[in-house]
Symmetry: C2
């Protein structure tokens, strides 16, 4: 039996490792176009902020380990260019331009996501941050150019994490975005708190600013915008990602939201012998029960495991994602799970939201800080639909109570009843989440 995996990142290597544990006799081949497998992509901004620690530190397992220890035929430098469903084979070229062709019984497409850089003159000067190699390049550029100024296109998680990383290195950062809305999935007053944190740390924010072209001159880059020109030592492109679904599309597999590969709860594509997992594939949303494309690490790992479980029988059914995300930007943590008011409206709910500000600890405690919670509920059913939070203390793990409630389709009224932990060093008697739910319930 031949199990072939295209892509050696989170989903692909999770599937390979678990398949090896479950089926000792299976032939497992992983085809990876780069030379890096199994590393923590999410940790790259933190590694960049630390010049003493090599990027290699983020490698969890090397390619050699997979080959030698786990008997996985991991072929790096192998770029797959076509899948033939009928012949059950994949073909492509190696980094040395040698053609290759491999047959499979079961195939997993785990090609991940790729940065979407804006199509403008000089776009090659924009450095993305997706693969380990990108991280190395940015780190090297900072060193070689003794960077003091950086421009970042985009204002998503990665862009904001990089604001912090570069500021730690003493680099003055400007972030640029064509639209006027900062963190559009946060209520505006919560987004303003994040903005203030960036200002406070010296980051320049250019909203409503389209970059028209980028030019290099000596060691500098110049970003020509509608009404100004920014100069910087390096320019990062963090304007989002798209699913790498071309192979699947060309093979005639069904695509879904944002051109991601359509996969069912068992990670099966429209072809019975092909699975898709990780950032290239879609998922069900546990609140709407509709397909979404939210590329995140935990889902990729979980989906990889599930593929291994489901290779020969439908064993592991994934419930889906709750749209949970959390990130740190300077002293702030920003978290969300479930739907925003607008997403809830678009999904056919009759939503209301309510915003509260509470304290992260009992008010007499050192370290007590403001915590802002926006909670969304459905008027029709009373159901809890989502929450967004911002604060300097106790935000990241607090969101997980909401996550579990969303998986359980809990009502706001039932959430109010939960016996959340209380001790003065960790929260007020009524946790901010309970206060948020109590106030929201009044509007339902």
């Amino acid at each position: 039996m031949d199990f072939v995996i295209i892509g050696g990142d989170a989903a692909g290597m999770s599937a390979a490792s678990r398949a090896r544990r479950q089926y000792p006799d299976l032939t497992i081949t992983v085809l990876e176009q780069s030379y890096d497998v199994s590393y923590s992509a999410c940790s790259m901004p933190y590694n960049i902020a630390d010049p003493q620690t090599p990027m290699e530190n983020l490698v969890v397992r090397t390619a050699a380990e997979f080959v030698d220890k786990h008997k996985i035929d991991l072929r790096t430098g192998h770029k797959v260019t076509a899948i033939s469903k009928d012949k059950r084979q994949v073909s492509g070229r190696t980094a040395d331009n040698e053609p290759f062709c491999t047959g499979y019984d079961k195939l997993l497409i785990a090609t991940g996501a790729a940065p979407t850089l804006p199509d403008l003159p000089g776009k090659k000067l924009l450095m993305p941050l997706k693969q380990l190699e990108h991280g190395r390049q940015i780190k090297q550029a900072i060193k070689d150019r003794r960077a003091k100024k950086a421009a970042i296109l985009g204002m998503g998680y990665i862009a904001l994490e990089m604001c912090e990383a570069l500021t730690i290195l003493g680099i003055k950062v400007s972030i640029i975005k064509p639209s006027y809305r900062f963190l559009p999935w946060l209520p505006e007053d919560l987004a303003q708190i994040v903005k203030d944190e960036l200002f406070r740390n010296g980051v320049d924010i250019h909203l409503g600013t389209a970059v028209k072209s980028i030019k290099a001159k000596k060691d500098k880059v110049y970003l020509h915008c509608s009404h100004m020109t920014l100069d910087a030592d390096l320019a990062l492109g963090a304007t989002g990602v798209r699913p790498c679904s071309e192979l699947a599309r060309d093979a005639g597999l069904a695509l879904s939201v944002s051109e991601s590969i359509s996969a069912d709860s068992y990670l099966r594509t429209s072809d019975p012998n092909i699975f898709a997992a990780g950032d290239c594939a879609d998922a069900f949303h546990v609140v709407t029960d509709k397909k979404v494309w939210i590329p995140l690490a935990l889902r990729a790992n979980r989906a990889g495991w599930a593929v291994a479980d489901n290779l020969f029988a439908e064993k592991t059914r994934l419930q889906g994602v709750a749209g949970t995300a959390v990130f740190k930007v300077f002293d702030l943590a920003v978290a969300r799970s479930g739907l925003t008011l607008y997403e809830a409206r678009a999904a056919g709910f009759d939503p209301v939201e309510n915003r509260i500000t509470s304290l992260s600890r009992a008010k007499w405690q050192a370290g007590a800080a403001k915590i802002h919670v926006n909670m969304v509920g459905d008027k029709k059913t009373g159901r809890l639909l989502g929450a967004q939070m911002v604060g300097t203390d106790g935000v990241a793990h607090r969101i997980n109570a909401v996550v579990v409630a969303l998986h359980a389709s809990m009502s706001v009224a039932d959430f109010i009843q939960t016996d959340l932990a209380y001790a003065p060093p960790f929260g007020p008697t009524w946790d901010p989440l309970l206060t948020a739910a109590i106030q929201l319930e009044k509007k339902l």
Copy 2:
């Protein structure tokens, strides 16, 4: 209409305040034997650790505020000594020994809990910590005696919180307990971690040590134990609490677990005109659906509110408690929710437990620390029954994901699927709770 409340602490004042908002014409009388109402009892150890801040700082609202602003007839220094169900009246004596008698249409018993001090010669020398007055006395004693050594009888939450508070003040602490088991509701290896933290901070732990008598000599107290004598500048009694249910018992109301007052989900006692709420009353446990007596602040507040809602109709049904608790002891946080293995067995489940050690943050992150999770599940049904956690980072709020799962009667398999938040500064890709659940599921 007369609503009379016995006890002006969390449950009583919550009920009074909410009843006032809901029924502007109601006559609300609160009879409180002490002179302190509405203060944060749980914050007393932290206040004691801070000599600069008066104990009065913990008062949320003064008696005068309730009287003037909220038109609540709050009578401090009023000790109720009898309830007559038939005549619908309560009677007692004031601090000046004046008798009083008050009629009611609806009565709330919110008499709280009282410290249980061991019955031994010299027990009057033991200082309890339950009411604000106790806090004042301890604080004063530390100051007056320039305390350098303290002995604490008991090793529960309050005792351990006081270890930290007194150590901060430069006081050497010994804790003493007759039995040999430290934190019996924690698996032994987790309990050992807490013990190590106490040792590390210079606390002497005397397990298996019964105090036979206590004597005072000059400004010192001497605790005569089975095999040694401890001397100290002050001796605290933190050997647990019992529900103040004598009034209810004498009035012929039904009692329940640990002699607490039996209350249904609407907080009604066995008499249709009498409610009971707070530390004097029992509650349903959401996992076992059986009665328990777990006196904690959030439940008291919540139950007080519910009484106000339910005064004239059954509006708010409380689901019950999950047995959640969290406390801090030096750098450690200890948290639990739901059942331990032994509690689960006693409740008729077929439980197994599993212990994992993971990291609180991604391993490359500064501040990543070990986090220990013990999780309990039911073999028969696959249901998640409880968890206990110990660690220096990210313990307190993490437990809340378990709390919500317990309220939702979630299975371990479903918990594994939850889309918990991930970002390197806040956790590994697989949150310790997910790792714990995955490993536990293998045993189910």
